[in-house]
């Protein structure tokens, strides 16, 4: 099975019918339909019906479909789950996750719905958004709280408020939280998704932030506008040189293996297991993005 990339996760406000029906046209990896903060309190039910009907009938071209539900603390999140889980098509993003117990409570509720509708228990996947100091400090136990989890995400706007600070261009205020979330995700073997960048007029600042989170190890970023898609896809896709180097490393290593050699030297540099693993990962990503096929086509011409 090929890997699932989560470079770009586009927010789609649940009550905006134009965006909901057209979201499939954008070249993103995941669509995150929102029932929480982007939907006014008196429109929650209306948005729930829109997503229920749209997700049931519209073909979103194989993109990963995620719904950000409301909090379970006031009963609204449960209603969202009642309507969306039976579709069997969406992963659930739990907002404002402060502890492993929040994940467990949501998971229990989901399991009951799966049983009620004769669905395979555990088939609905989850994501947890971490948006508070408690959430950051509990990131490790949150990430390990359920087998359903496919990733954890940073939600920075609520977090910086909780930390008594604000977002800055350098992102210094999020250093610890980002690192903590990344470590927790890697420890659990799930995706780490960075927060949104809300200044749409500063594309250079956006690109710098995308490059930084890629270097930290994140899998991708939540985005609020289609204009941000190309930059993330570019930054998160390997360059042609990286792909060719990876190809050379993997093929040289395979040849060496056949004659019983474990460590090789390539262009004067030692190549060992971690380097080979990274090279394989590059080739996996290039396969999913279609870059590898394009390069092979060019060489065959």
């Amino acid at each position: 099975m090929s890997i699932r990339l989560r470079r770009t996760m586009l927010f789609v406000p649940g009550n905006n019918t134009s965006m909901v029906v057209n979201a499939g046209i954008y070249p993103v990896d995941s669509l995150m339909f929102d029932l929480e903060d982007s939907v006014a309190l008196d429109q929650k039910e209306n948005a729930r019906f829109v997503l229920h009907e749209a997700l049931r009938t519209i073909n979103y071209q194989g993109k990963e479909l995620i719904v950000r539900i409301n909090s379970l603390s006031d009963g609204m999140g449960q209603m969202d789950l009642d309507y969306l889980i039976p579709l069997g098509k969406v992963a659930i993003r739990l907002p404002k996750t402060d502890s492993a117990q929040d994940v467990i409570d949501c998971e229990e509720y989901i399991a009951n719905i799966e049983k009620k509708y004769n669905m395979e228990v555990g088939s609905t996947k989850m994501m947890a958004a971490i948006e508070s100091a408690n959430g950051v400090l509990n990131a490790y136990s949150i990430a390990h709280a359920s087998k359903r989890l496919i990733g954890i995400a940073l939600g920075a706007e609520d977090l910086v408020t909780d930390l008594h600070t604000k977002r800055s261009p350098s992102g210094l205020e999020l250093n610890f939280s980002r690192s903590m979330i990344l470590m927790a995700a890697r420890s659990a073997g799930i995706s780490a998704i960075d927060t949104v960048y809300s200044n749409l007029n500063n594309m250079e600042g956006f690109k710098a932030e995308v490059e930084m989170i890629k270097l930290l190890g994140f899998d991708g970023k939540s985005i609020i506008n289609p204009r941000q898609i190309q930059i993330i896809n570019d930054v998160f896709s390997p360059t042609e040189k990286e792909i060719l180097d990876a190809f050379e490393i993997v093929s040289t290593m395979e040849k060496a293996k056949k004659i019983g050699i474990g460590v090789i030297s390539l262009h004067g540099k030692m190549v060992d297991k971690p380097i080979i693993e990274r090279a394989k990962k590059v080739l996996e990503i290039a396969t999913v993005t279609g870059q590898l096929a394009r390069i092979e086509d060019n060489y065959n011409e």
């Binding site: 019918t17 134009s18 029906v21 209306n46 019906f49 009907e53 009938t57 009642d82």
Partner: protein, 98 residues
Amino acid sequence: MEVTKQSVSGTLESSDIMITIEKSTIGNQIELNSTVEKQFGDSIRKTINTTLREFEINNAKVGAIDKGALDCIIIARLKAAIYHSVSDEDKQSEVFKA
């Protein structure tokens, strides 16, 4: 299911439809105003009628101002309008999740 009070769902934005539902005494009536009346008027009325039948609603006046909504959005807005117009007991019906 019985419509007990008036309710509205939807907006006048492009790709949306605004639906008003209220009680009627002379069966179901649909008043449609659509930007795509010529091509899709009959189809929209049919979608509304089918949905009303699924909820066994027989006495409702439905007003619809359509701005080019897809079928799934017409159904979603109508379901939401019905949801807000029926009794709390009827709100629990599985038909809403069908």
